[in-house]
């Protein structure tokens, strides 16, 4: 059983490029279609659960599914399959790159990826902004974004504090806001 769990999540992890979200449909295929550990409804329940909590989605999904299927050992197996192979690859690649940092062409390589990282993060920023506009409405999105810029960039308040306050505000009665929207 644990071997199947490992293979399923290893395959979903290694084939899912570009961050965690791309691996979710692959996980669904393994868990629901191939091994039939859950049906579609249960899988979307688990997905909704992990979306309700902070932190990486993939490890929550794989850890929880492993636990459901085969207890603590299943959980550990799924987490190892999700995290370990790519973490090792990442450490090897960057250590290799750093080992040759004195070579001019390696310094060039390091410079070449900075703007690409900028594009990737920029795309994520636009994606968050768009989703926020659709979910909260544009007025509130722009207001909160402007307030964040002032608090974090101009007043130097730690972003964690701003986010913690926002998380707390989600539990306030928001019905009054709806009228304003």
């Amino acid at each position: 059983m644990n071997k199947d769990l490992f293979i399923a999540f290893f395959r979903a992890g290694m084939l899912g490029y570009g961050g965690g979200l791309s691996a979710i449909p692959l996980m669904q295929r393994e868990v629901v279609n191939r091994y039939k550990w859950m049906d579609d409804d249960e899988f979307s329940d688990v997905l909704a659960l992990s979306n309700a909590l902070p932190g990486p989605i993939n490890t929550k999904l794989s850890g929880y599914i492993g636990w459901r299927v085969n207890g603590w050992s299943g959980m550990l197996m799924c987490l190892l399959a999700t995290v370990l192979p790519t973490a090792v690859l990442m450490i090897l690649l960057l250590t290799l790159l750093n080992a040759f940092k004195d070579k001019p062409f390696v310094q060039g390589m390091a410079k070449g990826v900075i703007p690409i990282a900028g594009v990737m993060i920029g795309v994520m920023a636009l994606d968050f902004l768009k989703k926020s506009g659709l979910g909260l409405g544009w007025k509130l999105t722009i207001g909160l974004a402007a307030a964040s810029v002032i608090l974090i960039e101009l007043l130097g308040i730690h972003p964690a504090i701003v986010i913690a306050v926002l998380i707390g505000s989600a539990f306030l009665p928001w019905n009054k806001w709806k009228g304003a929207k």
Binding site: G13, M14, G16, Y17, G19, G20, A23, D45, L49, S50, A52, L53, P54, G55, P56, T59, Y64, M75, L79, T82, V83, P85, A87, M90, L94, L97, F105, V106, Q107, G108, M109, K111, G112, V113, P115, I116, A117, G118, V119, M120, I121, G122, V123, M124, A125, L126, F128, L129, S132, L136, T141, L144, S148, V149, P159, A160, I163, L166, I167, A170
Partner: protein, 179 residues
């Protein structure tokens, strides 16, 4: 050393506990801890992690944690940082399962993700600016603009896999920016 382990643990814990919206949401919080607060690496080094992390398969947040931990404090550091990013939210999921099942469709819970999105977007936007500015300083504006435009077209318009785009950027850098 113990202080360093503790700092690694706390910084990864906070970044992941507040990163509503999955891996991408934790990136700017992690950057704030690693670059601005503790000075463990420069923005340039952090951008390499972001780019290579996107080019490799699998979840982005754990890959970044593993490498940052390793870079700062070796293999124990990698284990501590990865544990801090994975364990808390998973433990919360198991512990709160009953409550979550009941309230996962409730407006409060749905609002949690919604209400932090504008702030995360701002943090990601600032990071984008930082990376572009760093590149402008390191590689000059012509190469920076070429790489930004080519990167955007390949990733977003042509939907080329990030792996190939990162390999392309590494080659471009080795050939044109190595002098």
């Amino acid at each position: 050393m113990l202080t360093l382990y503790w700092q690694l643990f706390v910084s990864h814990l906070t970044a992941n506990l507040l990163g509503y919206g999955g891996g991408p949401a934790t990136i700017p919080l992690l950057q704030h801890e690693v670059v601005d607060r503790h000075g463990w690496m420069t923005n340039g080094e952090f951008s390499e992690i972001v780019a290579l992390g996107n080019g490799l398969p699998g979840p982005i947040a754990t890959k970044m944690s593993a490498y940052i931990g390793y870079d700062v404090a070796g293999i124990p550091g990698a284990i501590i940082a990865t544990f801090a990013s994975v364990a808390p939210s998973l433990i919360m999921m198991l512990a709160l399962l009953g409550i979550l099942m009941k309230y996962k469709e409730s407006p409060q819970v749905k609002r949690l993700t919604k209400v932090v999105r504008p702030t995360i977007a701002v943090l990601l936007g600032v990071m984008t600016y930082d990376f572009f500015f760093d590149s402008f300083t390191a590689a000059g504006w012509i190469h920076t603009v070429i790489l930004i435009v080519a990167g955007y077209i390949l990733l977003e318009v042509r939907k080329v896999s990030p792996t190939y785009v990162v390999i392309g950027a590494l080659l471009y850098g080795a050939i044109f920016l190595g002098g």
